[in-house]
Structures are given as C-alpha cells and as structure tokens.
C-alpha cells in the first residue's frame, strides 16, 4: 500500500465483516476504510481526484440503508462506484441497485476473487471517470479550428477529406490535429475516439454533455 493506493470504502453495520474485508483488501494492496453506518461514511468521505476509490456497501443497516445511501450520493453528484454486498439475494433490490448505477451486486458469503474482481472493475470505472473528467477539463483549451478538426477526426475522416470539408490545406489540418492531440494529452486516435464517444462529442453536436461530467466531479457537501 502506497500513498496512491486505491481507496476502498466499506460500509457495513457488522464490525466483524468490516475487519475481514479490510484484511482481504489490504492483502491486495488497497487502502480499505471501514464505516459501520451511512452517516459515519458521509461524514468522513472527501473527494480525492488523484486517487481511485470505490465503495463496498451493505444493504441492510440500521438508519440509512445501502440503497438510500446510493440514492443520496447520486443526488449529490458523488460518483464513487458502488459494489453492493448484501446479506441475502433479493432480485428486486439488486435490480434497483444496478439501475441506479451500481458496479455489482454481491451476496454474502462472497468469494474473495469475486469481490476483488468487482473492486477492480469499480476502481477501473473510477479511473475512467477520472480520465474522462480530465479530458473534459482540457477541451476548452482548443481553438475553434482545433475543435472542428477534432469533431471531424473522431468520425474517422482522413486529413485530406477534412481539409476538403473545411476548405483548407492538408498540411494545416495536420498541424491542428497535432496541437489538438497534444492539448488533450491523447496518445492515439483510438483513445480519442473512445473518450469522445463517452462524452458524446462528434455524434451530432452534444457537447454540453461534458459539462455534466465536469460538474459531477465536484466536492461533496461543498
């Protein structure tokens, strides 16, 4: 575990469960932090954009239960990926949880590889969300011409075609394209396409979507 180890938050009313999961997660090199109620967690959580994190959440708890906490986090724009760990499998509840954006819905007793796989995918989602928000933050750095080039590039057009569409020379497009890639810190065309697809850029001018993503990474309780 290092200063940049991914943080795994645990909310479960059972002390024993928290201890067991902490041991498991620590052994995997994560930084687990356990809370025995939703309130406790809400009081302690701080957004840390530089570190990946996720939440393992029990369903049945005194006070706020797991689903209620998920709803509140969503409402407040806290996009921490959630892995539910319930005492019993209940299809309606698991469907609700998944619809509300949960990464996974597991039941106790849970196999460690299953839990760790879910934690990994939750952390991956967290990383992705982090890179998306990074990308979105850089978009305004582009000049209008660079922005136009971007939108044309992600549709899969060749430089020559873009130059034709924009009524300029192929060499100019190459320069804009290079600057644009540099500003957005994108290594390859494939990555650019994937990220812009997620943000809805280039699919018919849905640029405002990116603002929601940016707003979503705001600090909780601020």
């Amino acid at each position: 575990m290092t200063a940049h180890s991914p943080i795994v938050y645990l909310v479960d009313d059972e002390d024993g469960m928290i201890r067991a999961l902490q041991r498991l997660l620590r052994a995997e090199g994560y930084d687990p932090r356990g809370f025995t109620s939703a309130n406790e967690f809400l009081g302690a959580y701080r957004h840390r954009p530089e570190v990946d994190c996720c939440l393992i959440l029990d369903v049945e708890m005194p006070g706020w239960d797991g689903l209620q906490l998920q709803e509140r986090l969503t409402n407040e724009g806290v996009l921490v990926p959630i892995v539910f760990l319930s005492g019993h499998s209940d299809i309606p509840i698991s469907v609700r949880a998944m619809k509300a954006g949960a990464v996974d819905f597991l039941t106790k007793p849970v196999e460690s590889h299953q839990l760790l796989a879910s934690v990994r995918s939750a952390l991956a989602r967290c990383g992705e969300q982090r890179s998306l928000s990074e990308f979105a933050r850089r978009l305004p750095l582009l000049t209008p011409r660079e922005r136009e080039v971007l939108e044309h590039v992600v549709t899969g057009k060749l430089n020559k075609q873009i130059a034709g569409d924009l009524g300029t020379g192929e060499q100019n497009i190459k320069i804009h394209r290079g600057r644009m890639m540099q500003k957005l810190r994108v290594e390859s065309l494939a990555e650019l396409v994937r990220v812009t697809a997620k943000l809805g850029i280039g699919a018919g001018g849905a640029g405002h979507d990116s603002r929601e993503v940016i707003a979503g990474s705001g600090q909780l309780g601020a």
Binding site: E14, G16, R23, L24, E60, G87, K108, P109, V110, L115
Partner: protein
Amino acid sequence: MNWLLLIWSASLGASLTLGLMHGLVWFRSGWSRVAHLAFAFAALGVAGVAVGELLCTDARSPAEFGRIQKWMHVPLMVMVAGLVCFISLYFRTGRRWLAWSTLASRLGALVVNFLSPVNLHYREIGAIARVEFFGQTVSVADRTVFNPWCWLPVLSSLLLVVFVADASLQLWRQGGADARRRAAVIGLSTIAFVMLATGHALLVHTQQIQSPYLVSLFFLAIIVALAHELSLDVIAAARLSKDMKESQDQMTLAASAARMALWTWDVVNNRIWMAPEGRALFGFDARETISLERFLTAVHTDDREAVRQGIDRTLVGGEGPARDYRIVLPDGQVRWISAVRKIENDASGRPVRMRGVSMDTTDRHDAEERSQLMVEAAPYAMVMVDAEGHIVMTNSQVEVVFGFTRAELLGKPLEMLIPDRFREVHADHVRSYAASPIVRQLGRGRDVAGRRADGTSFAAEIGLSPVRSGPQTYVLASILDVTEQRAAERQLAEQRSQLVHLARISSLGQLSGALAHELNQPLGIILSNAQAAQRLMDNAAIDVQELKEILADIISEDRRAGEVIKRLRSLLKRGEARLEVVSVNGVIQDVLRLTHSDLLVRGVEIRTELGDGLPAVQGDGVQLQQVLLNLILNGCDAMEALPAHERLLRIATWTEGMVVRLAVTDVGCGLPEGEADRVFQPFFTTKPQGLGIGLAITRAIVEAHRGRLWTEANPGAGTVFHLELPVFLSPAP
C-alpha cells in the same frame, strides 16, 4: 234328721261334681290338660271313699263292716294315685322315685288288704258296737285284733307327704308369685289333711277312739284346695283367650289397613281360611271355599310354578320369606304379593297347617322396577360393589362394555374388571376411597383401565358414589368406555400440534430472508477472513499477529453461526410440549436475537421495558417463543404502511399479583372497530398473503399455558396485545 247322711252325701256330690267337671275339661281340651284327668280320678276316689264310709256307719255285722272296709281300699288307691299324678303333672316337679314309692306302697297295701282274712287293718272284728257320734248312732268295729300290715298304708301316706312336701318346695324355689301361691295352698293343705286323715284313721284302728272314718272329709278339703287352684287357671285361660281374641281383632284390623292378608291353610283338609280383607286382596269371593289349587289359579301363570315350589319347601320345614310373586285379579289387574309362611306340624312331625301373611307390595315393586329400569337404561356401565369388593349388581351396559354376562359377574370380586397391571393401583384407590367415601362425578373422576372378557383392556372414566343400605355400605361405580374419546383427543392434539408446526414454519417462512442474512453474515465474515489469511500467507513476511486476529474472528463468527442454527432448530423442531420453568424476559431476548435482521430489514425499532426480578412461568419455552415471534411479526406487519422512522414496537413485562404480564404495543393501523377479538379466529386475516392462523395458534398456545391473550386499542394509534401467564409456584417439598 240324719245330718251324717247329709254331710256325707254333700261330700259325695261335691266330689263327683268337681271330678266330672274337670273330667269334662280334660275331655274337651285334650292332653294339654291331663292334670284335670288326674284331678277327676282323685275326686272320684274321694267320692268312692265317702260312699264306703257312709256304708260303714250303717254296717250290721262284723263281716259286713270288714267287707266294706276291704273294698274301700280300691277308691282309696284311685284317690292317692290321682293325687300323686295331679301333683306331678300340675307342679311338674317332685322326685319320681318318691312318687313311685308312694304308689307302690299303696298298691302293696291293696294287695295285702285282699290277701288278709278280714282286711288290712284287722285280723279279726269281734263285734259291731253302736256308738253315739255327735248325736247320731253309728256302727264301729269292736273287739278287734290289730293287723300289723296296717302300718303299710301309714308308710304310704308318709311317703305321699314327703313327696308333696318335696314337690312343693321345688316349685316354691322356682319362684314367681303364682307358682309360690300354688305351692303353698296345694302343698300345705295336702300335707295337713293327709296327716290328719292318716292320724285319725290310725287312732280308730288301734281303738284309741271310737269314731266313723273321716278320710273322705279330709280329702275333700284337699280336693277343694286343688279345685280352687284349677279354677284360677281356668279363669286365667278365659281371660287369655279374651285377650287373644282382642289382639287377633287388632291384628286383623292392622292387616287390613296394611293391605295384608292373614291366612291359615289346613293342610290335611286342604282348606284355606282367609279373613275377608285377604279375600278382597286376592280377589276371592267372600264365601267360596279356597283350596290350594283355587289359590294357585289367582297367581300369575309365570309365577305359579315358583309359588308351588315355595310352598312345597315350606311344607318340609323351609323357613324365611318367600319370593315375591304376581297375582291376577278378576278384572285383569296384576298386583305384586310378598308372603311369609310358617308350617305347624303335629306330634309325629306331619305338617298340619300352614300360617302366613301376604302383603300387596305392588307400589314397592313398581318403584323398584322403575329404579331398575333407570339403572338398566343408563348409558354407561354401572356396577355396585359391597364392602368386601364383591359385585352385587350390574346393568346391561356392563355386558356391552365389558363383554361379561351378568351371571358371570354377580358375587365375583371387582378385580375381574381390572387389568392385571392396574390391580395394585386399584387396591390403593379402594383403600383411599374407603377412607373418605365421597361422590366422584363421572368425567371428573380419574381415568382408569378396564378389562374386557376377552382380556383386552380399554381406557375408562369412572364415577363413584357411596350407597348406604342398612348397615352395609356399597359403592356404585359408573364406568364409561372412553377409548374413542381418548383416540379422538389424541388425534385432535396431533392435528393441533401439526397446525402449530405449520404456523411456526409459515412464520419462519416470513422470516427466512432475515434468517438467511443472520446466517450469511457470520459465514461471509468467516469466508472473507479465511481468504484474507490465505493471501497473507502468500506474502513473504507473514504477519502472525494479524493471522491470530483473523483466527479469533473466524472462531467467534463460527460460534455465532452455530447459535443461529441452534435457535432455528429448536424453533423448527416439532415435538411434545415440554413443561419447564421459563423466564419470560429470556424468551423475549431469544426471539429478539432471532428477529434482529428481520426487524432491520423492516426498519422497525424495538423498545423493551422488561420488569426486574420477574417470576418464572411454567411452560414450553419454544412454544412461548413462537407466541412472542407471532406477536412481534404481527406488530411489524401492522406498521408496514408507516414511514420507516415511525415504526416503533414496544415490549413491556411486569408482574401483577400472581400473573406475569406482557404487552406488545405497535403504532400501526390498529384493528377495525369490533374486530378486536376476531383476530384470534382461525383464517381471519387482514394480510393479502396471510394464512390467518398465526394469532389463533398463538392464543391456543397461551390458553394451553393457562394464560390469557387479548387486544386493546393503543391510545393514539395501533394495538396492544396483552398476554398474561400464571406465575410458576414451585411445588411444596
């Protein structure tokens, strides 16, 4: 005027009259009055002597005088024999040998008298002297030679005196005013006058005085004394017969009042005498002649043979009351008759007559018949047992229930109806019952086992009542075969137990999610800990402290899972209800542990106010857990519609006198008006998926614990379920 003739004639007449009178009495009354015959002989003897003495006074020659005197000894003999017999028969005392000696010496004198030349007194009579005797000239013997044999009759007279004195003394000693008077009058007069007669005669024979014989006069005095006593007897007998007539009249009157018939059957002539009342009783005509055969025609044909046999038994000396029989009156009415008969035999032992009393006992028979019919019609077996435990009465149900016939049971010990293995217990029951015989009602008595004729036994319920009849105490037992009831009860209990089980499973079904959680929680912790340990082991540096902690957690969680399973098992287990000492607060805590997760899921907050030092109750802990589980789940269901933070269930316990009270209060929807008690009815439910048996079962369990369960509206909102259980009192040592 010849007064001598007059005196002797009067004496003769008196003797004859008395003699004939008592001879007649004897003749009329038979041998019971044989003393009168003896008297009659004695009196005739006196008369004969008187005749002889009168003839002597007028004798003309010595030969005539001697002849008359000789023949006078015959009536003398008769007179003495009669007197001796009379005393013997009348007094019933006296020594036999004295009597026989008297008679023998007198008979000897008579023989000597006839063998002697002249007579017993004189060897020779020289002449007849005419002497003056109280102004009359009478003939006496003169110049006589004394015959020494003359002492023989004197001896006889002395023996007679001794005999009479002895007999009188014996009678006197027997006591009784009557007997003593009789001994004094007859004894003293006989002794005195016999001695006077003998002394006077001796003086005449020895010619000390010249006098005619006066023996008859002296003996007449004796006869008069005897007659006086006899006449007193006759007077007493007459009075007795008058009294008897009166008492007979009274008896007849009493007999007719009691509808009794007095009768006498002259066996020899086959005639039955019966008072008019008796004839009316039997329906005989007032004047018809009743023979035994005629009498039997009045008897009911079914009983006729038995009556004939009963009479035959009495004829040969059988005693005691005869069996009751029925008669048929001319108008066809049937009456019951009870009779007592007695036979009288003649001296040779032949039956002469039979006397008896017959009585109309129809009313008693009707009453008896009614009570017998009642006993017979009773829908259960009835057995009456005497103090020795012998069966004296049974009814027809006994044959149905036990399979024994009545004849097989009567007189037999009650043990016949009890299976071997219960006989000892039975003996104890009998002893304790004998100590305090009270009525034990059927159904509240004890359950016993009965034994049938084929040896099988059956469950029976028995009721007992002591019955006192005269000096005897009987016990009347009413016995009901409850085999079927017991089987039905068992079946019912079985069904109820199944239903309780079903209800338990159904409420556990509602809990199943929570129970899974309850188990999954520790299992999850164990698994995660174990797998964390595995991963730690893969590391190069093993953190031993961490591993220890992991193992400790695994162990405690494992135990926790085991506890859950144990509780679950005990709740699911279906078995006989057990009686144990149970803490109500303990039950509440157990159930709350079990429902912990479910309450979390349902978002119900529990607040308990459990009384300190609550006394224990007696019951089945698992069943009481079931009760509480149902009440808690019921309260949770009632609050389902409320927002989560308002769902509050309060559980309180406290003591109130001799009961432990428990209240489960919810703030839910409450019960509809007027349905407060309907919730306990089976299949009453307000829940869409409810079976409606939970609260019915709950109340059944509570009532089986002698407790009560009821509801009240909770002021504000919701319902209170009140539970009351009796405090367990430890049995006295």
